[in-house]
Amino acid sequence: MKKVLLLTVLFLASAVTYAGGYRVSLQGNKALAMGHTGVAVINSSELVFFNPAGLVYLENKLSVSVGAHGVLADVSYQNSATGDTAMTEAGLSTPFYAYVSYQATDWLAFGLGIYTPYGSTVAYEDDWGGSHLVNNIALQAIFVQPSVSIKITDKFSVGGGPIYATGAVNFNKNLTRTLADLDGNRSEVTLDQTGISNWGWTASAMLKASESLTVGVNYRSEIILSAEDGDATFENIPNSPLTPFADTTFNADLPLPAELTMGLSYKHNDFLFAFDYNMTYWSVYESLSVDFADELITDTTLLRNYKDASTFRFGVQYEASESFTLRGGYYFDESPVQSGYFAPETPRNDSNGYTAGLTFKVGDRLEIDASFLYLQFNEVDASYDYFVEGSGGPANLINQYSSFGGTYKSSVFVPGLGITYKL
């Protein structure tokens, strides 16, 4: 039996947890190991994120889960018509989470979560072929979510709470495909803003349909992070009244889309099977519009035109022994990017996520959770067809679209480690 499980884990690993756009689905090591399922899994305080309604069903008075993931993401690009190639610089980003749940009475529980559901770190070599779209970008959002969970009946509970989101963005790109100063240094802009905050909310419900079957639903609202008076810094600008790019401030809205999750779990002996379906309402991300305070500088609109995207998640858990719990999972993550809008700052096509992990019990109260995710992408021929040529450049350049594309291949590998403490 154990042999079979190992094979299963390996198979799953060669066959899917991460999400399209700049959604980073890494909100718990236990859940991630099971394909990032969890809306109907009563396991730990990771429920603060996955389904706060379920907190009231946790067995312990106090449950704490803390952890982080190391995201090793690479993207290769090539264009067979020109021979142009590029590869993102290897970098590590570390989304983290911390959840606490507290059982106040047998029908009421409270929770608090801090987690990082959105973010993106992509850095290409400066002045690479797509530098007019992005040289590098670092986007982070931290959510803080107090929650309440109320048992309505023994089998049905509801939960939810407000979300305070705070984010930061740093985005550097060249102004056009060609604009440069006297010595040929490419003209570029850096947009930087930290401490952008806004409020949202989450609401959820859980039904323990039978001893074995649990059903859950969770909704997290959209939060628009509005950068106001961020710093726009221009470099290598020609000394010319035709290119009036002076450092200024900017306003821009970055939407963190709403997400609806429905799912179920089924327990059979030492096994637990879980299925989650996510719908992420990406269609809110129509464009990244940057409004510069300096009236001489043309405002830019980078069309995104994302579509709502689904994710299908499957997970299995096996309690191998008193000490060990093994997990595996798979998910299919649909990209929100539509044909012709494949921008290299979020170079994500559809992907298969393969996950595995384990929990090792150290005594009665402490558990160590480990997980990993291998996100497999197929090569994709894709392009961004809506870059406005001559935007902000000399008036004699024709305002029309140019296309940037080729073949992209991404790989993402995410090891993760966390602890769970139960009292």
Binding site: K2, K3, L6, V9, L10, A13, S14, D74, V75, S76, Q78, S80, A81, T82, G83, D84, T85, M87, G129, R177, T178, L179, A180, D181, L182, D183, G184, P238, N239, S240, P241, L242, T243, A320, F324, L326, Y354, A356, L358, F372, Y374, F377, E379, F387, E389, P394, A395, N396, L397, I398, Q400, Y401, S402, S403, T407, K409, S410, S411, V412, F413
Partner: protein, 510 residues
């Protein structure tokens, strides 16, 4: 526990396979692109300013980096191409020094006045590229600005001593391997496996840009007697050109020969309209009155006395109308009647006779050169507001390439191209029809990812501010055109470049 270890090993294995994303068929893989029958391992480019990467009236580092041979060499790197060296200048100003004294001007940049109106201006700054600070040649890019066909085989063309007395070329003198070497010998010494040869443009260009100020040397087989603005005799061209091809193919190299475009479709000749003098009815009438005697009496008399033909007399009639007019010009190919007019029966004063000596009104077929824009319509003598160039003062010969002069340029160019095409066929080399390519850009424009490349001055994107040499984008277009020829000729699949990623004119205010 044993199973846990197995599990951890499984985890690790998965971690290892997931490293860098690799393509099934990477463009960097050997064999993705095909060199065909050519060997690009040692590419040498031979030519003039176009090959050197000259633009905006100067040779400077960033321009050289976007020379068409350098762009091609970068693409050759996918099919076995080796290093491609260039005699890079020392800065992005472009001026050349001889022993610390500046002998050529800095590059042109596109400046703008306070209203945003653009105009070309010479970049300020002290250049640092000195002819005496020799660059150590030879280089893979053997493009020498200003060189004609016969210059490439003229010993001493790179003599530093000769630069001061005007017999040698300062750009070549920077990197000539010796005082007596030739450009061709230096190029051949590199033992190229592949070459491009684009020479002959200057054999007609100087004549054209000087408005036909030089001499058509057809029939004169001694190029040492030629002036800088002369048209090279086609036999002199053929001898020099075939010597170059022979020397380049002697070692078994393959290559491509590029023909000579029609110079008259470049912005230097097409930007300033011939019809450019606005006059109201009263002024037109007043000016016409000044020319009444010339039109109605002098010209018929000259015909009557057999000095000029009726046809020439008809071409010399001056008539201004309300609206936009053609300027009056000096046409060296008209019969010079200044002496005749000073004699009887006219007995015109010398000044007037000289004014009328080779005078006519321009037509739509005459080409006004770019620098004439600052001359046309100007009033050279502020004390005489009636002395307007083009109206009462003829536009001098150097500002106009007349139809007669255009015909000489075209005839020579056609003769050169016949030689080039013949030698390409005889040696089974690629033949790049740059003439047709440029004519197509001028007539229809070339569509690319993000725009249309045209020959319109400044805004067309193909030509730099000197109106003669391409921009980096124009050079990229040139490189693609040549790569097409190479791929066809040698069954190769060298990838081309996206010309939209190459710049055009440089914006800068001093």
């Amino acid at each position: 526990m044993k199973n846990t270890i197995k599990f951890m090993i499984g985890l690790l294995a998965i971690g290892l396979v997931s490293c860098e994303p690799e393509f099934e068929n990477a463009v960097t893989d050997e064999g993705f692109y095909d060199a065909g029958d050519a060997d690009f391992s040692n590419y040498v480019a031979l030519g003039n300013s176009l090959t050197a990467g000259y633009a905006d009236s100067a040779l400077f580092v960033s321009g050289q980096e976007d020379s068409y041979p350098n762009i091609m060499a970068q693409q050759f790197s996918f099919v076995g191409g080796g290093d491609f060296t260039q005699p890079l200048t020392s800065d992005n100003l472009g001026g050349l020094l001889l022993g610390g004294v500046q002998i050529t001007g800095n590059r042109l940049v596109l400046s703008a006045d306070e209203n945003g109106n653009p105009f070309p201006a010479t970049l300020d700054g002290a250049p640092t590229t000195d002819v005496l600070t020799s660059a150590s040649g030879p280089f893979n890019n053997m493009g020498v600005p200003g060189a004609t066909s016969f210059h490439l085989v003229t010993p001493g063309y790179g003599s530093v001593a000769g630069v001061a007395n005007g017999t040698a070329n300062p750009w070549y003198a920077r990197f000539a391997t010796s005082e007596s070497s030739t450009v061709l010998a230096d190029a051949v010494s590199l033992n190229p496996t592949f070459f491009s040869l684009w020479i002959g443009n200057n054999d007609i260009l100087g004549y054209a840009t000087s408005g036909g100020s030089g001499v058509d040397q057809a029939g004169n087989l001694d190029p040492s007697t030629y002036g800088g603005n002369d048209i090279t005799d086609p036999n002199v061209f053929a001898a020099a050109y075939s010597a170059q091809v022979d020397a380049l193919v002697a070692g078994g190299a393959k290559g491509v020969l590029l023909n000579i475009p029609d110079v008259t479709s470049i912005p230097y000749f097409t930007t300033v309209p011939a019809q450019s003098i606005p006059l109201d009815a009263a002024t037109a009438g007043a000016v016409n009155a000044q020319f009444a005697q010339y039109n109605d009496q002098i010209l018929p008399l000259l015909v009557q006395f057999g000095v000029i033909t009726q046809e020439e007399a008809d071409s010399r009639v001056v008539n201004f109308v309300e609206g936009i007019n053609y300027p009056i010009i000096v046409d060296n190919d008209l019969t010079d009647v200044s002496q005749v007019l000073q004699g009887p029966p006219g007995n015109l004063p010398e000044e007037l006779a000289n004014l009328l000596g080779q005078l006519r009104q321009a037509t739509s077929d005459d080409l006004i050169v770019l620098p004439a824009s600052s001359v046309l319509g100007s009033v050279p003598d502020p004390s005489n507001p009636l002395g307007v160039v083009g109206v009462s003062i003829p536009l001098e010969n150097q500002w106009v390439l007349t139809t007669t002069e255009q015909a000489r340029v075209a005839a020579a160019g056609a003769a050169y191209n016949a030689v080039i095409e013949g030698l390409a066929a005889a040696n089974e080399l690629g033949y790049g029809d740059m003439k047709s390519a440029l004519a197509d850009v001028a007539a229809n424009g070339a569509f690319y990812n993000g725009g249309v490349l045209t020959s319109t001055y400044v805004s067309g994107g193909a030509f730099s501010l000197d109106g003669v040499h391409p921009t980096p984008r124009g050079y990229a277009f040139t490189a693609n055109t040549i790569i097409d020829v190479i791929n066809t000729t040698y069954n190769a699949s060298v990838p081309k470049v996206d010309i939209g990623t190459y710049g055009t004119v440089t914006l800068h205010n001093n």
